[in-house]
Symmetry: C2
Subunit: 225 residues, 2 copies
Amino acid sequence: MGKCEQCIIKQFNSLKALTNEELVRISSCKTSRTVKKGEVIFEEGDVLKGIYCVREGICKLTKLSSNGKDQIIKLVVKGELLGQRSLVSDESVNLSAIALNDMELCFIPKAEIMMYLQKNTNFTYDLLREMAIDLKEADDIIVNMAQKSVRQRLAETLIYINDSFGTKSDGTLSVLLSREDFANIIGTATESTIRVISQFKKEKLITTIGKQIKIIDIEGLKRVE
Amino acid sequence: MGKCEQCIIKQFNSLKALTNEELVRISSCKTSRTVKKGEVIFEEGDVLKGIYCVREGICKLTKLSSNGKDQIIKLVVKGELLGQRSLVSDESVNLSAIALNDMELCFIPKAEIMMYLQKNTNFTYDLLREMAIDLKEADDIIVNMAQKSVRQRLAETLIYINDSFGTKSDGTLSVLLSREDFANIIGTATESTIRVISQFKKEKLITTIGKQIKIIDIEGLKRVE
DNA sequence: ATTGAAATATGATATATGTCATGTTTATAA
DNA sequence: TTATAAACATGACATATATCATATTTCAAT
C-alpha cells in the first residue's frame, strides 16, 4: 500500500492542505480499489462512507433525468477527489460515477475526513476554494446549455477536452468518449451529435480515426456558430 | 446602525456560525446600503471588496452569454449572502447582481471575512456546506436545461418560485418577474415564454392578474410534459 | 476467421422553438 | 387626463433538433 505523504497525486487536490502527520494517518486507514472501464463507482442515491482520490484513469459523473436520459455533468480525472460534496452536505450522492477507462482509486473513510474538516482550517478552506471554482464552471455550463446551439456546444466540448486532458501522440483526444457520451455531455440526441461530427469533418475542423477524434483546426472550432 | 449579534437575518446564512464577539466586531465595521429596483449591485468582472448580507428584498444573478443574451442563474433573497464565492476563489465575480425590488444590504469588508475563514472552522465549514448545496442545485439546473422542454422548465420554475418564496395574500407569486426574466431563467425567447404562459392559462394551470401569476393547479403543473 | 451485438452513420420526416412583424395592454411621466 | 414607452400578446414563418427507420462499420467473443 502506497504512502499518502509521498504520493504525488495529492498535489492536485485538497489533500495537499493536510499536514504530514495527517497524511501518515490516512495512509494507514485508506484502502485501494481498482475499477474496470464501464464499472459503476457509486450511484445516485448511494450513501458514501468516504471519499475517493483518483490515482489513475477518468470517470464521468452523470445524473438521470426524469425523461430517462443520462446527463454527464462533469469528467473527473487522475488527481481529483470524488464524493466530497455529498460528504460535506451529508446527503446521499446526487450523481453517479462511472469509469471511462480502467481506474485506480484510494478510498478514505468519512470519519477521517470529518476530523480534518474540524481541525484543519487549511483543508476546509481549500475544499471551499475548489468548490467555488466548480460552481463557477457550473454557471458557465448552464449558460451554454440555455443559450448555445448543439454545434457550438459540441465545438466547445471538444476544445475543453483537448485543453484539459490533452492528446495522444497521434494527435487524437486522449479522453475517448463514445458518440453517446458526447451527446450526454452536450444534452442532445446521439444522432444529432453524430451528424454534427460529420459536419465538422466536412468543414475540416476535425478528423476521425475510428471513434477517435483529432482536432485539426482549433481556431475554426472556436469560431463555430 | 443595527447590531449583527441581534440580527435575525443571520440565522439564514453562514454568519450564524460566527461567535458573538465576531458578530460584534462585524457590527462595527459593516456598512449598510439600500438599492432600488432595477439597480445593479455588482457586475460581471467587478472585483468585490467584501460580501453582502441581504436584509430585505430580492435580486437576480445573471450572466451574459456570448450571443448577447442574459441568463439568470439564481435568485437571492432576504437572508442569503451575496458575493461569497468570488471572495473565496479570489477572482472577479462571474455574475452580475441586479435588484428585482427595493433592497437593503449589509456590506462586510473582505478582510473581516478572510479573518474568520482563517480562525473559525465552523464558519468555513458552514460556507462549504452551503456551497455544496448550491452545487447540487446547479447540477439539477444543468440537467433541466439539457433535457427538458420549455413547457417543463417554465412549469418547474413556477413551482420553484411558489415553494421557495411563497405567495401574497391574493395567491399570486410574491416574487414578481417580467416575462423576459422568466425567459432568461428558463433559457428561451421571451415570446416563447409568453406563449407557454398563455397555454398554461388555457389549460387552467395558472391565472394571471396583470403581470402577476397565480398557480391554481400545482399538481397539474408538476405533470406538465 | 466468423458471427453477432453494439456503435456509428445517414436519410426522411415531425416537432419544438426561434424570429420577425404587428397589435394590444399596461405603466409612467408630463 | 393624455401622451408615450415599455411590456405583453399573438400570428406567420423559418430553422434547429428530435425521432424513427435503416444501413454500415467496428469490436469482442467464440
